[in-house]
């Protein structure tokens, strides 16, 4: 009898713990809806929220132009903000977990400079890594991003694939591609240099429906794998020894998370350029809100990333009327005050 009530008490405690997390996740997910609609509504041609809803509902009485603006420009961009933000949030969380480092972000292991180098190769020398006619800059960027990750993996494997070797190999490879990029830029003409710089700024206006389909597929695959392995990822946070004693194949889980993060980052960077800060900050915000339980932390990081990038997408259209500032520039302006507020308000240590 005594043990029976004890078990019941345990369930009560557990449900109290998870209820708070469920609420936080649900509340932040709901904020995505107004952000998404605002993102569609705001732009050089303002569209009322009612019209936005009408067009999205597939109304036929709406004007042709309104239809075109929403379906072929605003909607892909707004969706790209959500999907890319979520991708970067997840990629950042996975990096922080496997590198056991609060400074880790999707770009820590040199993916961004490798991708930029790939794009620059096309702009300057018209080099095409993959024999496909269209989207050469994007495909080059993806190929080099993937190549850099593979290099980092091969190097760190020599010393047991530990967080330290991963970080150091990543920094080395990142610097290498950074230098290569600088060299290519040095050789470039003024116009091509401008093209490279603009490519790197990061812009969601490169969004297309086919790109969206690819990023959504990658996001769904990696996110479901990560949630399924939630407890193993959480065990990694206790250090390799303890994780191993908990039955986690440390190297395999780390490799899986690394590959997922690399894929997410390579896709987003090659499609939309370098969008900084989101992948670093979204996981921290999520952690402050829901704690370490990765079943909640994974979706929460994605939601925070999506919200952050959506807000940035709105901001880059409103800061200077008539012009759209590249989103890569705006993310930090939006994120830093919010992030600092959270850090300062939270008295307790959280990493």
């Amino acid at each position: 009898m005594a043990t029976h009530s004890l078990a019941k008490q345990g369930l009560v405690v557990y449900h109290r713990l998870t209820r708070r997390r469920r609420l936080a996740l649900a509340a932040t997910t709901l904020t995505l809806i107004p952000l998404f609609l605002l993102d569609i509504s705001i732009g050089p041609t303002p569209i009322g929220l009612k019209d936005v809803l009408n067009v999205l509902a597939g109304c036929h009485s709406c004007s042709e132009t309104l239809h075109t603006i929403v379906w072929s420009i605003r909607l892909p961009v707004a969706l790209a903000a959500i999907v890319t933000g979520a991708s970067l949030g997840l990629a950042g969380l996975l990096m922080q977990t496997i590198l056991d480092n609060p400074l880790a972000s999707p770009y820590t292991l040199g993916v961004s400079s490798a991708a930029a180098f790939g794009a620059a190769l096309f702009y300057v020398f018209a080099v095409k890594i993959l024999p496909i006619a269209d989207h050469a800059a994007t495909l080059n960027a993806f190929a080099f991003a993937a190549f850099a990750c593979w290099l980092v993996y091969c190097i760190s494997r020599f010393k047991g694939f530990t967080p330290e070797t991963l970080v150091l190999a990543g920094i080395a490879i990142g610097s290498l591609f950074h230098a290569l990029l600088a060299f290519v830029e040095y050789l470039a003409s003024e116009e091509t240099l401008q093209a490279i710089v603009f490519w790197m700024f990061g812009s969601l206006y490169k969004a297309t429906w086919s790109k969206l389909a690819v990023s959504i597929a990658v996001l769904l695959a990696t996110a479901s794998t990560a949630v399924y392995a939630a407890w193993k990822l959480e065990a990694l946070r206790l250090g390799d020894d303890v994780a191993q004693s908990l039955g986690v194949d440390v190297k395999r889980v780390r490799l899986l998370a690394f590959a997922s993060s690399a894929l997410l980052t390579a896709v987003s960077v090659s499609f939309y350029g370098i969008i900084g800060f989101v992948g670093l900050v979204a996981p921290h915000m999520a952690r402050i809100l829901v704690g370490e339980d990765h079943r909640f932390l994974i979706p929460q990081s994605m939601v925070m990333g999506a919200a952050l990038l959506s807000a940035a997408s709105i901001a880059c259209k409103t800061i200077s009327p008539g012009a759209v500032i590249p989103i890569g520039i705006v993310t930090s302006f939006i994120g830093v005050p919010f992030f600092l507020a959270l850090i300062v308000a939270k008295k307790r240590r959280y990493w």
Partner: protein, 274 residues
């Protein structure tokens, strides 16, 4: 059941830390390993848990060779408790204990049995009131109990404990060791405990293994193998074995004490000073 035969182990080839060690821990038996720092105590535990491969020799843990068994399988039968753990501060105690049962399973799903057993184990150690606390809010001693709870909640057949009482107060040391002893007997666990406190090793074990420089200096029931000469030889500290109220005690003697030269002052009968 744990069988170790002529075990050589270490972290670099050619530099063994554990040299030719053999022992056996039966079902419902508890073995205490003692010895100075760097004697190879923890290395033996790490071999048994499957973290490192032995250089030479044979190990069988519940019929399995840990170096050839997947970590997942080992984790389900072995409860390993490290001296301390580097834990992310936002992790709650209940979650941490549940992690022991959930991580080897590989799925994200939580059964109500996981929650119930984890909470009951916390209650068994008298710390269920900490269930919702975060790990960084705990004292070192409380954290040590939580670590033990994680291992016990797995209902292991093998318990490997690396200084499980090092940070506990006097009463908790005895309560915890008594609990480990009782569970070992009741549930037929094979337990290996690494101790620095020789008296705790004597009180709560069937056998002790005295290790020095990686070699076995003594192995057997404590009252049969321990001697003041052995303690002097292994630790370099003069000691005396006495029997008080039917209990074997090791008392260290040192002429370096700043309290030297006391006369027999009937200290025992004196009440607390006010």
């Amino acid at each position: 059941m744990i069988v170790v035969e002529r075990l050589w182990a270490g972290y670099k080839p050619g530099k063994p830390v554990v040299k030719d060690v053999s022992f056996r821990v039966g079902v419902g038996e508890i073995l205490a390993i003692v010895g100075p720092n760097g004697a190879g105590k923890s290395t033996i535990l790490r071999c048994l848990a499957g973290f490192i491969k032995p250089l030479k020799g044979r190990i069988l843990v519940a019929g399995l060779d840990p170096s050839k068994t997947p970590a997942k399988t080992l984790a389900k039968i072995i409860g390993y408790v490290a001296p301390d753990v580097k834990a992310p501060p936002l992790l709650t105690v209940l979650e941490f204990v549940m992690l022991g049962r959930l991580a080897p399973r590989g799925s994200w799903k939580v059964d109500s049995e996981d929650i119930e057993v984890s909470y009951e184990t916390l209650a068994l150690l008298g710390i269920e009131h900490l269930a919702e606390k975060r790990l960084d809010e705990l004292s070192t001693g409380q954290r040590q109990l939580v670590l033990l709870a994680q291992a016990l909640a797995k209902k292991p057949r093998i318990l490997l404990l690396d200084e499980p009482t090092a940070s506990l107060d006097l009463k908790r040391q005895h309560d915890t060791m008594q609990l480990i002893y009782d569970l070992t007997k009741e549930q037929g666990i094979s337990t290996v405990v690494v101790h620095h406190d020789l008296n705790l090793a004597i009180d709560y074990s069937d056998k002790v293994l005295v290790l020095n420089n990686g070699k076995v200096k003594a192995y057997g029931a404590p009252e049969e193998v321990l001697s003041s000469k052995l303690v002097q030889e292994v630790y370099g500290v003069e000691a005396k074995l006495v029997v008080v109220d039917g209990l074997l005690r090791i008392i260290t003697l040192t002429n370096r004490s700043c309290r030297r030269g006391l006369q027999d002052a009937k200290l025992e009968t004196r009440g607390p000073r006010n």
